[in-house]
Amino acid sequence: MNGGGEPLISMSGITKTYAMAGETIYALNNISLTVHTGDFLAIVGPSGSGKSTLMNVLGCLDSPTSGTYLLDGVDVSRLSDNRLAEIRNRKIGFIFQSFQLLPRLTAVDNVELPLIYRGLSARERRALAKEALEKVGLGERMFHLPNQLSGGQQQRVAIARALAGQPPLLLADEPTGALDTKTSRDVLALLQGLNEEGHTIVLITHDPGVAEQAKRVVRITDGVLSEERSAVS
């Protein structure tokens, strides 16, 4: 993780275009964004606003057409597939709307997945996965399959999976989109707790109620980013 001055995320002039029927569509238009370690940022916007594209670029799942993206001091805007995979593995913990757990694997096996690709030994993996599951309060359900868990529990397994590799950035894409109100509140509380412990969180949502929980909110409309509420602390 970074100390003090240097930001964790530093985007400048990020543009992503698609060619569609001869026309150039600007999914992201000259976006600049800085996120510091320890921030809790919410990106809000209606569907079709370019929010998912931004999330994919932030998560190193996709490369921008132009612009510079420094993540933890590394320029990731022009990297090969393999290098991007490595960055995703080490720097980013994903939390998806639909949990994205592998149905055939137990909770602990799911949490171990990113650690497998990091090349850790079975013993190290198991220790880290267990720790992460205990942190999200699922230490008792390590060997349950996803379909034996409730939605909220599944999302907590996904959060544990994002935490297990101790990445500097947690990236949550509509983490409460598939959950009921009460469970949503629990999950958001868990994320807030993690932020208080020092985890940097970027949350993407269309729900202003969810965005309220973040320290800072930016809005994306038609591929353009605007500051909505600055950091309180």
Partner: protein, 389 residues
């Protein structure tokens, strides 16, 4: 990612669809089993042919006078001169024909050979009762006969030794009965035979023209040399006409037959290998389905940091595992199958470990090769699109 981790992952996926895996494995199993059975049948018959040839005599060279040109046969004296050569352990001139043997009212049509005492050793005939022809039988033109077991039963001879039978109307005394050799693909019925002294051929076959000589060479290494000298001498004798005779080397025949049957083995194995290929296509098919079905899984893995090679490795491992399972099961089925075929069709089978190992390695290879396209497809999936599924 480590191999053991890859194997564990592959096993998890292979186990997730037992029926599908079973059917795909079956495709490979049938291929491997077919190759194993076919090759073991082929090799078994090669061995059988070889042992049959061996039973005709070891280091055997035979000279046949074909009867074209000036000289159409040899005299005993010419035979002696011809075979006076270092390296020749024994020789037996032979005049052969067919004859009818009678004993009381029973008759038997037999193949008759007028020859000398060395014949038995050269052609690997063994006497069960009595004795074979002796030199003295020949010297004195004794009307004695050594008969095969078929003759004994045809003529209903209770105790054949000493019995008088007639051959072409001429009375002969049986002095020996041969051990049964059975019939073989290369020698015909070896038991329907009567042997008489060479000198008596004139009486029974109305000829004393020698047109066949069997020669036993002392050492296998000398066979080629002996054959060459024989050819040279015969060419002189036939005044340059090399079409009038034929020097036949058993080793050559053995080699020819071996190459024929090994060609057959290769062909059978090759045809069976086609079914292995079909099995491989089955693997490819199921892997392609699997990649499509598991697009989301691939997306998740990629988002968590799986590189292309990790995904490639995972799917290749699965394909190789299916191939390997089919290979192992196929070897077991093939070993059982060739034993069964051997028993049911009374064919000699000779299951070969090297072929089984090869079939296993090949089926692993089939899995890998046919896994490449699906695995590449999986590895190249775009994680953003894969996750959207």
């Amino acid at each position: 990612m480590k191999l053991s981790q890859g194997i564990r992952m592959a096993w998890g996926s292979v186990r997730a669809h037992p029926m599908r895996t079973l059917l795909t494995v079956l495709g490979i199993l049938i291929g491997v089993a077919a190759v194993t059975v076919m090759v073991s049948i082929g090799q078994g018959s090669t061995k059988q042919v070889q042992s049959q040839l061996q039973s005709l005599g070891t280091n055997l060279v035979s000279v046949n006078i074909l009867g074209r040109g000036v000289t159409t046969s040899l005299t005993e004296r010419q035979v002696e001169e011809l075979t006076n050569l270092e390296g020749i352990a024994a020789y037996a001139p032979s005049i052969s024909g067919s004859a009818t043997a009678k004993y009381g009212t029973a008759t038997s049509d037999a193949s008759l050979e007028a020859t000398t005492s060395s014949f038995a050793e050269i052609r690997n005939y063994k006497v069960a009762q009595g004795r074979f022809l002796l030199d003295i039988d020949n010297a004195l033109s004794q009307k004695v006969a050594v008969v095969g077991s078929t003759i004994v039963s045809d003529l209903k001879l209770a105790s054949p030794i000493g019995e008088k039978i007639t051959i072409q109307g001429i009375p002969f005394r049986i002095v020996g009965v041969l051990e049964s050799k059975g019939s073989s693909a290369v020698g015909g019925d070896n038991d329907n035979k009567i042997f008489i002294p060479l000198q008596t051929a004139r009486l029974v076959l109305k000829t004393n023209k020698i047109r066949t000589i069997y020669i036993q060479v002392a050492d296998a290494k000398q066979i080629d040399g002996v054959v060459n000298v024989l050819k040279l001498r015969l060419t002189n004798l036939f005044r340059g006409n090399s079409d009038g005779f034929n020097v036949f080397n058993q080793q050559d025949m053995m080699d020819t037959l071996s190459s024929v049957s090994s060609t057959m083995t290769t062909m059978l194995g090759g045809i069976a290998a086609i079914s292995l290929l079909v099995g491989g296509i089955g693997i490819m098919n199921i892997m392609l389905v699997s990649v499509t079905e598991r697009t989301r899984e691939i997306g998740i893995r990629k988002s968590l940091g799986a590189k292309r090679r990790d995904i490639l490795f995972q799917f290749l491992m699965e394909a190789a595992m299916i191939g390997g399972m089919g290979g192992l099961a196929g070897i077991a089925a093939g070993a059982g199958g060739s034993a069964l075929v051997g028993k049911l069709m009374s064919l000699p089978t000779s299951p070969s470990w090297s072929v089984m190992l090869l079939a296993f390695v090949f089926s692993l290879g089939v899995g890998l090769v046919f896994g490449i396209i699906p695995a590449r497809r999986a590895a190249r999936l775009n994680p953003v699109e894969a996750l959207r599924q």
